[in-house]
């Protein structure tokens, strides 16, 4: 069937703007939820939303996709870079092609992006993770972190904060080890078990990303240590539900991903229309006051959410 893409081939100056979003990879609930939010924004604010992700999370594949979007002459390009610095060059190409460039979820600070839609500050996430875990652990004890990609910039920045917060606020608590399981839940589970074996007195585990959060919870459940070892993590609600219910996961730290997607779409539309952001923006009824800091050109969704078994059912992703 013909792709009637008046906007895409923007030559005939049609008015519909196209905002394209490139996730780190397709198919994971997190980005699919952002996509849903973006589509909602597109419907309400009247622009075209393109969502195109690769099957593997690497800079090369992402670059090819960005290229195809440049070729498509979209008006706004939003990227959640797998590797921030690697994206800089191709984002430059996009800007040269007259496309408004922005980042969401993960920033590319050294790039030409005009705005970064941030879900929450590293401080916010790191602190929330640490506080909710140590609340479960009773403010003291040894815990370990099961992270994912060794080179994932944002995860590493959160871990830094967790270290600081633990050191300052919880003198009796200690991070005994940090391991990397990649985007592989099974590996995360097995590594979590290794950690519990290596440190019999371990009382806490953090799953740093959406694949290791359920992973560590599963490990606790399978070793029957529910109540002895507490886990928190950045997991998507539906994936964490069963663990939150059975108690192998205390809390999962996240934010309203669909709202993040909506905000992203909105921001893209603003860029396309050339409307500048003000210090606080009324984006929608759900997002009455989104803050914008001009120094680092960053839109901030707000503080992270603490999702527990009580509110997990509010989210359908």
């Amino acid at each position: 069937s013909k792709k009637t893409d008046t906007a895409a081939t923007g030559t005939d100056g049609a008015d519909t703007t196209t905002v394209a979003f490139v996730p780190k990879l397709q198919g994971v609930p997190y980005f699919e939820a952002m996509n849903a939010g973006g589509e909602a924004a597109a419907a309400e604010l009247g622009f075209e939303w393109v969502y195109r992700g690769s099957t593997t999370a690497d800079a090369g594949a992402q670059t090819d996709i960005v290229k195809s979007l440049i070729q498509q002459e979209v008006d706004v390009l939003v990227v959640a870079p797998n590797d921030p610095d690697s994206m800089a060059p191709v984002l430059q190409d996009a800007a040269d092609a007259g496309i408004e460039v922005m980042t969401a979820d993960t920033d590319a600070p050294n790039s030409v992006r005009e705005v970064f839609v941030n879900q929450a500050t590293a401080e916010g996430i790191g602190t929330a993770l640490t506080d909710s875990l140590l609340e479960a652990m009773g403010g003291k004890g040894k815990y370990a972190i099961v992270s994912c990609g060794q080179t994932a910039a944002n995860l590493n920045s959160w871990i830094e904060v967790q270290k600081e917060v633990t050191a300052e606020k919880y003198p009796e608590a200690e991070i005994v080890d940090i391991v990397y399981a990649g985007e592989d839940e099974a590996k995360a589970t097995s590594m979590a078990k290794d950690l519990m074996n290596a440190h019999p007195d371990l009382t806490g585990l953090v799953g740093e990303c959406t694949s290791s959060a359920p992973g560590v919870a599963k490990a606790v459940a399978e070793t029957g240590k529910i109540g002895q070892v507490f886990t928190v993590g950045l997991g998507t609600p539906q994936a964490m539900k069963q663990y939150l219910d059975e108690g192998s996961a205390s809390t999962t730290i996240l934010w309203d991903v669909e709202k993040l997607g909506y905000l992203t779409g909105w921001a893209g539309k603003q860029l396309a229309d050339g409307t500048a952001f003000s210090a606080t923006n009324e984006v929608s009824a759900d997002l009455p006051a989104v803050e914008y800091t001009d120094s680092d050109k960053m839109l901030l969704l707000g503080p992270p959410l603490e999702i527990t078994k009580d509110n997990v059912d509010q989210f359908d992703y």
Partner: protein, 364 residues
């Protein structure tokens, strides 16, 4: 099957006493070559793919025009995989189950070496490039020593070293990429070059890919070493009896592979303006795609057979096919259908090839 790419079809033998074999008409001849010669088959396929997508683009079936500039810019992602496929060509041809799974690890580690030289050490580009490529060659030499002299199965030796190199790359800078000012400026090496009539061609095609291809072709098709390599790969005992330096020949193939991986490391660092410790392992890693391209290009895994031409055509085919598929879909399906397309091209072209070879009586 394994015979097809590298050997000219046997001319009909004038059956003594019998009637001389009838001259084959040109079209039939072209068809036979197209079907029996892997390179020709792929070339035809390439033309078809490009033509179809171009036509679709013209008639708005794609989300964007499939034109020369786009094809040119797509070459950027082909440079690394194509060079690495040539590296695989070298080692696979060298025989005895030759293969190099460690190219990914080498790209990562050599890339970090390059990053350190340019960044923290603040060296000039030229010496840094030399050091990085040399580092690659050195790692290749380790593989070569293990395979040719200690007689490790290539698959095991290079798998082990790929684990090791990858780990060292991560350790080298504690997981962090190197992307400070000087490293970012390296992007100049891979800026695109406006070619009149074509559009912007990525510079590395001319500065890295083409030279590599020319040299590889000269070495394999024209040099004494190339001949020795094919002999060793076909039957290393016979090669030994034919006074070939079997071990050295095989060893050098792996050195060459490592060296090319070093070149790719430089290209990748420049292209992404940052030296990433997981450059060669991110996603599916760099080794398997490279091997896939080599195999598609008609390199026979049992050794002794394979050509630069075939690998290049295969790389072009896959690159431009993928580029087209991305434009064929609005959403995310594109990158999934890329998998399907690659799989089908691999199997069907090989199938066609074998059927043809049986039809034309080249395999018994």
């Amino acid at each position: 099957m394994s015979r097809s790419p590298a050997t000219a079809p046997t001319a009909p033998r004038p059956a003594p006493g019998g009637p001389p074999p009838a001259r084959e008409p040109l079209p039939a001849r072209l068809l036979r070559i197209a079907l029996t010669e892997r390179v020709a088959l792929l070339a035809v396929l390439l033309v078809v793919v490009v033509a179809v997508f171009w036509w679709q683009g013209r008639n708005q079936y794609l989300v964007a025009p499939y034109d020369l500039p786009y094809l040119a810019s797509a070459l950027e992602s082909m440079v690394p995989v194509c060079i690495l496929a040539i590296a695989q060509l070298l080692v696979v041809v060298s025989g005895r189950g030759g293969i190099d799974l460690s190219v990914g690890g080498i790209v990562s580690l050599a890339g970090m070496v390059f990053g350190f030289c340019v960044g923290p050490f603040g060296w000039a580009t030229a010496p840094s490039v030399v050091v990085a490529v040399a580092a690659g060659a050195l790692m290749g030499a380790l593989n070569g020593f293990l395979v040719a002299y200690v007689r490790f199965p290539a698959l095991i030796a290079t798998l082990a070293t790929s684990y090791a190199f990858g780990a060292l790359a991560l350790l080298s800078n504690d997981n962090a990429p190197i992307s400070d000012e000087p490293v970012q400026e390296l992007h100049e090496l891979t800026r695109s070059l406006a070619v009149p009539g074509v559009g912007d061609v990525p510079l590395q095609v001319l500065t890295f890919l083409v030279p590599v291809l020319v040299v590889a072709w000269l070495v394999l098709a024209r040099s004494t070493y190339g001949r020795s390599l094919y002999a060793v790969g076909t039957n290393d005992v016979a090669a030994l009896y034919a006074t070939q330096p079997v071990r050295r020949t095989r060893f050098l193939a792996y050195v060459g592979s490592g060296l090319l991986a070093g070149v790719v490391a430089v290209v990748t660092v420049a292209q992404f303006a940052s030296a990433r410790p997981d450059a060669g392992s991110a996603g599916n890693g760099m080794a398997l795609p490279a091997i896939t391209i080599a195999v598609l290009g008609g390199v026979a895994i049992q050794g002794g057979v394979g050509r630069v031409g075939g690998v290049v055509v295969a790389a072009l085919l896959v690159t431009w096919l993928n580029a087209g598929i991305l434009l064929a879909f609005e959403g995310s399906e594109g990158s999934r259908y890329q998998l399907l397309a690659l799989g089908l091209v691999l199997v069907l072209s090989a199938l066609l090839n074998t059927l043809a070879l049986r039809r034309y009586g080249r395999i018994s």
